[in-house]
């Protein structure tokens, strides 16, 4: 992991954070390079509308399908491998097996959702990422890494335009 430097501002209000984001965009900072961190989601603001994706729904569906196929194989395969007559039921008895198949399908979909969440949200993370503990006090962090085509001064001006309570510089691993 490479070490980078970022400049970030802390904001008391989501509207101020939004103003800073807009100023950064006007200054030519690409949308994907703007990091916004908050202690709660702000769905009503544009900075929260990024990163929408149907990926998790699709992965959950794939997980469910795999669970379905796995459970069908489990119940049919093992019944045929160890055939035991139970109450005159067929060796492969679909009605009771539907219970097992349903439960394993749902379990697989749930586990896939959780694993997908962890992978796509990059959790757990031990890397030194851009963060400020004041976020947990209710501040909203808007940060941008310094790059060759934009100086710290340009970013600071844009962050100040939003009405930052403080503008700081931090090292982080990217």
């Amino acid at each position: 992991m490479a070490s980078s430097t970022a400049v970030y501002g802390l904001y008391a209000e989501p509207s101020a954070a939004q103003r800073a984001c807009t100023a950064l965009r006007r200054a030519g900072v690409p949308e994907k390079e703007i990091t916004v961190i908050s202690a709660e989601p702000f769905e009503a603001f544009e900075f929260s509308q990024r990163d929408h994706s149907l990926l998790l729904f699709r992965l959950a569906a794939v997980g469910g399908l795999l669970g379905f196929l796995g459970s069908v194989l489990l119940v049919t395969g093992t019944s045929r491998a160890w055939p035991i007559n139970v109450g005159g039921m067929p060796i492969v008895a679909w009605w009771p097996y539907l219970v097992i198949i349903f439960e394993m399908t749902m379990l697989s979909a749930i586990l896939t959702t959780v694993v997908s969440l962890l992978v796509t949200a990059r959790l757990p993370s031990r890397a030194k990422s851009l963060y400020d503990p004041e976020v947990s006090d209710g501040k909203i962090l808007v940060g941008v890494p310094i790059a060759a085509d934009r100086t710290s001064e340009v970013i600071r001006r844009a962050l100040d335009a939003g009405g930052a309570l403080a503008v700081k510089t931090a090292e982080f691993q990217s």
Binding site: A16, R50, A60, E134
Partner: protein, 459 residues
């Protein structure tokens, strides 16, 4: 910086975070006293279980023909109680009910602990509990494979799925709150909460992924919750036994489970409100709404009981009628009519009136429902087993002290686990509560043209 006091933007009271974190950061002697008392009650159950393991299940009141009694009653009862949390929370999440925010975690915790307690009982009941792993599907050297056609194996799969799903459903939305505690504590405590927070920062991507995952989990967990108690009912209804072999058992059990679950939730919320001083967050309106739900479930329960009883009575099948009459006017009648009063008459008399749908009124009705639903489970199992087809095989059942102690200890275990949880984890989801306090956005941040130029998407 002054912490939560500097949060005027979202209209959140300055003390909200402090209020909700106070139980984690401050400990009074009352907490230790409560834990010691509850631990003592749990020890009674552990001692009783040890006595049973040492002497065999002959120490219970079980005798031919009643081989299922208190333990299976406890199993069904606690699995039912578990329906309070995840199911209710998932439904309220999906319909985006605003009043759910302070309620969901209180409810989800009940599910996790009630399931653990309930799932213990088939193992306790085995007689040789050290062989419980025979239930699990694994190929042994003796070429034995669990029989997937057995309802008891369905139980294993259903409860495992529901427990796993419920624990994850409880844990995921707790991650941001763990991060909050991580940032407000130091030393070992900060490291523990840091590990539980998994390095959560609260980026827009993480929030979006978390909320999407919770939406998927809510969709997935509802059918699982319904299936669990349906499958528990199959333990009975798959048997050709009077009053058990009925198609109504699945929905009847699910309705009863939700009914007892809501009652448990109301009691737990009232206790939290009182002892953790959460009056500012658990408002009377939450109890009123849950009281209405409880009333609705009481009516539904009454409907199911009426449908089941009328069908049996009208069919007039002799084996079923012997069970029927033993509960209506025979040896089990006092318990049966107590159940009817607790589950139907009392909730109707209390919760139908708005003036009585107070915190106290809801708690009184809920306590009655918890007692009534335990009796319901008992009355499904024991009268039937003691009055099966042939009259010469009829018998009776009377519980003995080890069973009673075990039952009492389950309530102690629930209380202990709940107390410890609320000591170490914010019992009300702080970030969700804050979201509920956010003001409506009054004006757009850019002109529509500018928004389209600057951002890929805009609200």
């Amino acid at each position: 910086m002054t912490g939560a006091a500097s949060r005027p933007a979202t209209g959140v009271p300055a003390t909200m975070t402090e209020d909700l974190l106070r139980p984690l950061l401050e400990t009074s002697w009352k907490f230790y006293a409560l834990v010691i008392v509850l631990f003592g009650v749990v020890l009674l159950g552990v001692g009783s279980f040890a006595y049973q393991v040492n002497n065999g299940i002959g120490v219970w009141g079980l005798n031919w023909p009643v081989f299922w009694a208190f333990d299976i009653t406890n199993f069904v009862f606690w699995i039912g109680i578990s329906h309070a949390g995840t199911l209710i929370s998932a439904i309220l999440r999906l319909v985006n009910a605003g009043w759910r925010r302070p309620v969901t975690r209180c409810a989800e915790v009940i599910t996790a602990f009630a399931l653990m307690i309930g799932a213990m009982f088939p193992i306790v009941h085995l007689g040789r509990p050290w062989l419980f792993f025979w239930l699990m599907p694994y190929p042994t050297e003796r070429q034995i494979w669990p029989n997937f056609r057995s309802p008891l194996v369905w139980d294993f799969f259903a409860i495992s799925t529901y427990l796993t799903g419920s624990l994850l459903f409880l844990y995921l939305p707790t991650i941001p709150d763990f991060a909050l505690v991580r940032d407000r504590t130091t030393g070992f405590r900060s490291r523990v909460y840091g590990a539980l927070a998994l390095g959560w920062r609260g980026t827009t991507k993480q929030w979006h992924r978390l909320e999407t995952a919770m939406q998927i989990m809510a969709i997935a967990i509802i059918p699982v919750a319904v299936s669990v108690h349906t499958i528990v009912s199959f333990d009975f209804s798959m048997a050709i036994v009077p009053m058990w072999h009925s198609t109504i058992f699945g929905p009847y059990f699910v309705a009863g489970a939700i009914f007892s679950g809501i009652a448990a939730l109301i009691i737990a919320m009232a206790a939290l409100r009182k002892f953790l001083h959460l009056e500012a967050y658990l408002h009377p309106v939450h109890f009123e709404n849950l009281g209405k739900l409880l009333l609705m479930m009481s009516l539904l329960w009454g409907y199911f009981v009426f449908a089941e009883r009328l069908t049996t009575w009208y069919g007039n099948e002799s084996a079923e009628m012997s069970v029927f009459w033993t509960t209506q006017s025979g040896a089990f009648a006092p318990l049966y009519w107590t159940m009817v009063v607790c589950n139907f008459v009392a909730p109707l008399c209390i919760l139908s009136f708005r003036k009585l749908r107070t915190v106290t009124g809801c708690v009184i009705a809920s306590c009655g429902v918890v007692v009534g639903m335990w009796l319901e489970r008992f009355l499904i199992i024991v009268p039937t087993l003691s009055h099966k087809y042939l009259s010469y095989s009829w018998g009776s059942y009377r519980p003995r002290m080890p069973e009673i102690l075990l039952l009492v200890s389950t309530f102690g275990a629930m209380g202990l686990l709940y107390t410890l949880f609320s000591k170490f984890v914010p019992i009300i989801s702080i970030w969700e509560l804050k979201v509920g306090e956010q003001p409506e956005l009054s004006q757009p941040q850019e002109t529509p043209d500018e928004a389209a130029t600057l951002w890929r998407t805009h609200p």
